[in-house]
């Protein structure tokens, strides 16, 4: 697919509030970049046509102290638009890319919009609820499952594949959420798989990891009478549904 889909609809940088503090989290095929900065000056999104290896975008900005360029590779379906208007930055349409996504975590305010497939990816303000470290609670849950002494041929211990997959998901998710205001619950399915469940207010999600790569893994989500499964169980998708859960 051509890089032309990455062309920003407007190259006009947004007008940020003076000294507005933002936190940007960019997730992609490259390692995570997570930095705090004072948003000042220019912000540009450009297709990285000069570097075919990345097939993606370079984000550039100038902060109070330095300029920086970050690259995110292998983005295949992002239709990005920047608009002006106060401090607003708008992402429109296909916010999700294939196994990649961007998240603006603008603590304490909702100054951006996501187009036709709302993601509501604003993390709650710190004062909203006590937040629980997502890694420590879930990894402790896995350790507890492994230390159970009741496994046998009928009630099978989680497989190495399942454990590896669960840890992979937890750490991938933790790169987006260091903490969330609800505690995940882990259990085995008795067939070598693991289930991770979260509830928050009237919403619930369950990540089901099968015992083998050939098994059926998925994310189930439910809010009142709305429910379905997302068969693409990945760190990106789990992050998406956790974001949905807590907003």
């Amino acid at each position: 697919m051509s890089n032309t889909i990455f062309q920003p609809r407007s190259t006009t940088p947004p007008t940020p509030a003076a000294n507005k503090r933002r936190r940007i989290v960019i997730s992609g095929g490259t390692p995570q970049y997570d930095t705090d900065f004072i948003y000042q000056g220019d912000y540009n999104v450009i297709p990285d046509a000069a570097n075919p290896y990345y097939q993606g975008l370079n984000f550039t900005w100038n902060d109070a102290n330095s300029s920086a360029i970050y690259a995110v590779e292998n983005i295949t379906s992002l239709d990005l638009a920047l608009t002006t208007g106060g401090s607003a930055v708008s992402f429109e349409n296909n916010f999700f890319a294939r196994n990649k996504f961007f998240q603006w975590a603008d603590r304490g305010e909702t100054s951006f919009n996501v187009g036709e497939n709302p993601i509501s990816n604003v993390l709650p303000a710190a004062a909203d609820a006590p937040e629980l470290n997502i890694i420590s609670t879930l990894v402790a849950g896995i350790a507890k499952l492994l230390n159970e002494d009741d496994y046998d041929e009928e009630f099978i211990k989680p497989t190495n594949y399942t454990i590896s997959r669960a840890l992979e998901l937890i750490f991938a998710t933790a790169s987006t959420f260091s903490s969330i205001p609800t505690q995940g619950k882990l259990s085995t399915d008795g067939m070598g798989g693991i289930r991770m469940e979260w509830k928050y207010r009237d919403k619930e999600i369950r990540a089901v990891i099968s015992a083998t790569a050939q098994g059926r893994s998925y994310i189930y989500y439910e809010q009142n009478d709305t429910y379905d499964i997302d068969t693409a169980l990945s760190g990106t998708h789990l992050s998406y549904w956790l974001s949905w859960l807590i907003t």
């Binding site: 009741d150 619950k185 008795g190 289930r195 369950r206 059926r216 189930y220 439910e222 429910y227």
Partner: protein
């Protein structure tokens, strides 16, 4: 079951391959809580469900012995994950804890 909140997990109501005829249950009319607890090697707790409320969600209970019955209508996850999860959640919400492991 969550040991702190005592909330029943939907995982308890997911049908396993060994649940050939449905989700295995014991009738309260013929089985005490102790009976149920003692017949299982691994038991986190004993919960109760009302047959009428199961029928409200279009499930049924069929007794196949004096001390045994099956909840009918819950699909395997491999057959229909969406409905299996939905029904498991409904059963978890309907269930009432009678005794936890350490009670």
């Amino acid at each position: 079951m969550d040991s702190e909140t005592r909330e029943i997990s939907a995982a308890a109501f997911m049908r396993r391959p060994t649940d050939i005829d449905g989700l295995s249950v014991n009738p309260a009319s013929t089985c005490s809580v102790d009976f149920v607890r003692n017949r299982l090697r691994k038991c986190y707790g004993v919960v109760s469900l009302h047959v009428g409320r199961l029928r409200d969600i279009e499930l049924d209970v069929v007794q196949d012995g004096l001390e045994h019955a099956n909840i009918i209508g819950v699909p395997y996850s491999e057959e229909n994950s969406r409905e299996a999860e939905r029904l498991a959640g409904m059963l978890a919400r309907q269930s009432r804890l009678q005794r936890a492991l350490n009670d």
